[in-house]
Subunit: 513 residues, 2 copies
């Protein structure tokens, strides 16, 4: 393993380092890789694209590694897999647990739940191939397979294998990106070593190239049925600029993925949600869990953090639900709920039942210890003729030299849309790709007895990242933000521009670990 | 016709009123309607969704009307079609020239090129139906057909008919939106009065609803072939927020539209390009011409203009071209070129051949009369190791009270993307949906003999709108912007953050009429 002598700061107490979003202690991080759950040890493993030698992307690239008991607090481990040459990279990939030892890498001394095999892309200047490495200690150290590569089509744009066991057809399935041909390729294997191409899938927004596909069986809420969801990352060239994830809902028979419709669905409506991956080997009753890199290639290498760059999203639980997207149509859509682990402590700051909001009604909360918030409000919209009808949550920094900084999120009745505005007048906001405003339209979640529309808004504010979940996760908006040096979120204020449009129930908690 | 007494300013000399983008003299405007070319009179007709009684959308809604000899300078006409009741609206639709009098509305006294029939949606509180009106004076005044409606499916969400004559099958084709069922419906008729449903088409980004479809046969560049392009407007719920247009490329046999692939393509990468419509009855040799409403429903009703609201884009000529979207793949994509009419005068301000740009090299031009610019530059990107590699064009207002305001557009080598940043610190930029930064990724247009990538950038700056055309129209970015009262674009400055990365050829003209 080639980790150059590190020249970077090792400080991990930066004021703007998120608390419950994973960040590398130092160095550069991008895509999550090899996410899996060790059922025997009850430990979550997260690997990630890692450059320990700098705070920008660069070769040699490693699989960094961290573990968690609850998906919220992560313990750094030494990098798990590295390239043999300084000009190469261990690019994105996945981990499977080879319970039945189909690979022959294991003997009886290794518990079936800890027979860990990584399938990743080896990137060299000549080409990208798919390689294997296995671990005899439950995912901490790896041995590269002597028969590598296991998949080589002599291409420089062929990467990001995500593998899972398909029970009905008794085979391993790999989805990966033939990136610049805009093909998600589906391969099958019985031993992870020999692969046959089953089919290709192309759809949706193309941008410059396909990356990091994923194929996951997702339960439909209030039903015993499931559907298959194909996740697909695009970079650059998404409508909001740069990198983003889309998904398709359909049927998978072990060979071909057939979408139910030709709809292109966004996975998240913010600018910072990329390269989503689901955890392997999670017991069914725990749900479909996964997370994404919370950044955007348009500015990821330039964000103003010190000694480290990028965070992951929090882990999310995924289901499918028939959601009314207008009065005439329901569409089977992804529903995402954040996972807050048992180590996360909540201190209640506000707990207020429905009350009519006036122009001077404020819900004001300060998280004095951590600066980390969980915000949950449900609101009804009354009919009024007022011109400006906005319910707004302002996230305000501490005051320094007489100055405060803030970002805001809220709901606008006229457009029926939620918004996030991270425009702060500071040095980083001059970056020409750091878009200030993102938004998401959702139809009302439900109607009360008198026909008033009801919406739900949930958010996690964690130092330099805001994750918004609308209508119990029917849409999400994930955006990082960067206040000036010395400014950090300290309080949140909920207010309205109108006197009697909103009836609001609110709960605000401070989060600590 | 019910036009209430107008209470609005009739000033038409507002400093921020565009010169070569159509704006209504007073009142509210949205979608372009009934665009057609009168071959006999050699006159372009533009109708549009019009509320003459206010500067926000409202009923009764009319078809406003303007005419032009060259598509750049428009003459206002009296509103052409209005509803019989104050609570109704003449919603979007199209015009065809019924050369062969299939409707029986005309006699020999009306020249075949002036047999004008409008097909529009009559919106009432009960439902939306498709109605006809015909003109015996070449499109200035209309008589409603006594047999209206011609298409009524008892729906409140059924609108925006775009009709054309399909020669191979000898029939009129109508595409319209069953909006909230996400269906573009394709109907056929031999007389415009009786319609049969041929097929439905659904694809791409759904958002809240479908609006304003269009189906047009578009020539492929450097070929005698054509393909059919299906245009589709979505509002709200597009990824950039609010309203935007997408398109699909495929085959049409007179009954069914079959796309060539499942790709979702954006028509424009800015925030202000909606409800595109192509002109009817344009001679083939003039090309496929059309234009869009240059606004976004997220803020259209609130933009800070006085006495009038909204402009159209300039007319664009459309072709299809196999464009390299990465090194491995070419995709048949729409290419858009702006039409500047013969009344537009160009005064050259800068005309400079390729030269290496240094950090202190500036191309600086002032449009002293009109404040309206045409900007054209071609640049090569040299390999350098500099960190910030941006070529930027700043559009700067006049100075007032010691202050200037500016917006910027440019190219960033790291991300390989073009950007527009309309973030100006003024009152309107507080609107939570008026996104500051938009961007578009395009692969290099070509490579020079030494392998250096070449890009082309063309822009029209017209008071409060910026239209950017990249690589001869392979991608466009249309954004309005609003400087503070009394500030108006006066000069443009091209500069670079690096000393020897760009080799630039530039031409800048002032535009007047």
């Amino acid at each position: 393993m080639i980790v150059k002598e590190r020249q970077l700061s090792t400080t991990s107490d930066d004021v703007n380092r998120p608390l419950i979003h994973y960040t590398p202690n130092y160095g550069w991080m991008n895509d999550p890789n090899g996410l899996f759950y060790d059922k025997k040890a009850a430990v979550w493993h997260m690997y990630y694209q890692y450059n320990p030698n700098d705070t920008v992307w660069g070769l040699p690239l490693y699989w960094g590694h961290a573990t968690s008991k609850d998906l919220s607090v992560w313990e750094d481990q030494v990098p798990a897999i590295g390239p043999d040459n300084d000009n190469d990279g261990i690019f994105s990939g996945s981990i499977v647990v080879d319970h039945n030892n189909t690979t022959g890498f294991f003997d009886d001394s290794i518990h079936p739940d800890q027979r860990v095999v990584a399938i990743y892309t080896l990137h060299t200047s000549e080409k990208q191939t798919q390689d294997l490495a296995y671990s005899l200690d439950g995912g901490y150290t790896f041995t590269k397979y002597s028969g590598n590569p296991v998949l080589d089509v002599n291409s420089t744009q062929f990467r990001d294998p995500k593998v899972f066991w398909h029970e009905p057809t008794n085979q391993w399935i790999m989805v990966l990106a033939k990136s610049q041909e805009f093909k998600i390729q589906i391969f099958g294997s019985i031993d992870l070593k020999s692969w046959s191409l089953h089919s290709n899938f192309s759809s949706g927004l193309y941008g410059f190239q396909y990356e990091c596909p994923g194929l996951v069986e997702v339960p439909i809420e209030n039903s015993t049925e499931t559907k298959w969801v194909m996740f697909l990352a695009i970079n650059p060239g998404m409508p909001l600029g740069g990198s983003a994830n889309q998904y398709f809902v359909g049927h998978f028979d072990g060979f071909t993925f057939v979408p139910d419709d030709t709809q292109t669905r966004l996975q998240d409506w913010g600018k910072d949600y990329y390269a989503f991956q689901a955890f392997s080997d999670v017991p069914k009753e725990m749900g479909v869990l996964g997370l994404a890199w919370a950044s955007n290639w348009q500015y990821a290498n330039k964000v103003p953090t010190s000694g480290w760059r990028s965070s992951m999203s929090v882990a999310r639980n995924h289901t499918l639900k028939n959601i009314a997207i207008n009065p005439e149509t329901k569409v089977l859509s992804l529903v995402q709920k954040p996972v807050l682990g048992s180590t996360v402590q909540k201190t209640n700051l506000i707990d207020q039942d429905f009350c009519i909001f006036g122009k001077n009604t404020l819900v004001n909360a300060t998280a004095s210890q951590s600066g980390v918030f969980e915000i949950d409000f449900t609101f009804k919209v009354h009919k009024t003729t007022e011109l400006q009808k906005t319910l707004e949550l302002e996230i305000i920094s501490n005051t320094k030299d007489g100055k405060t900084e803030s970002i805001r999120t809220g709901f606008d009745v006229d457009g029926g849309s939620f918004y996030v505005d991270r425009g702060i007048d500071n040095a980083f906001n001059k970056n020409p790709f750091f878009t200030d405003k993102t938004s998401a339209y959702v139809d009302p979640m439900e109607y009360d007895d008198s026909g008033l529309p009801i919406y739900k808004f949930y958010a996690i504010v964690d130092k330099n990242i805001l994750e918004v979940y609308l209508n119990d996760g029917a849409a999400t908006l994930t955006n990082t933000f960067f206040m000036s040096d010395g400014f950090t979120p300290e309080s949140v204020v909920l207010s309205s521009t109108c006197s009697s449009t909103f009836e609001v129930k609110s709960e605000i908690n401070e989060l600590t670990i």
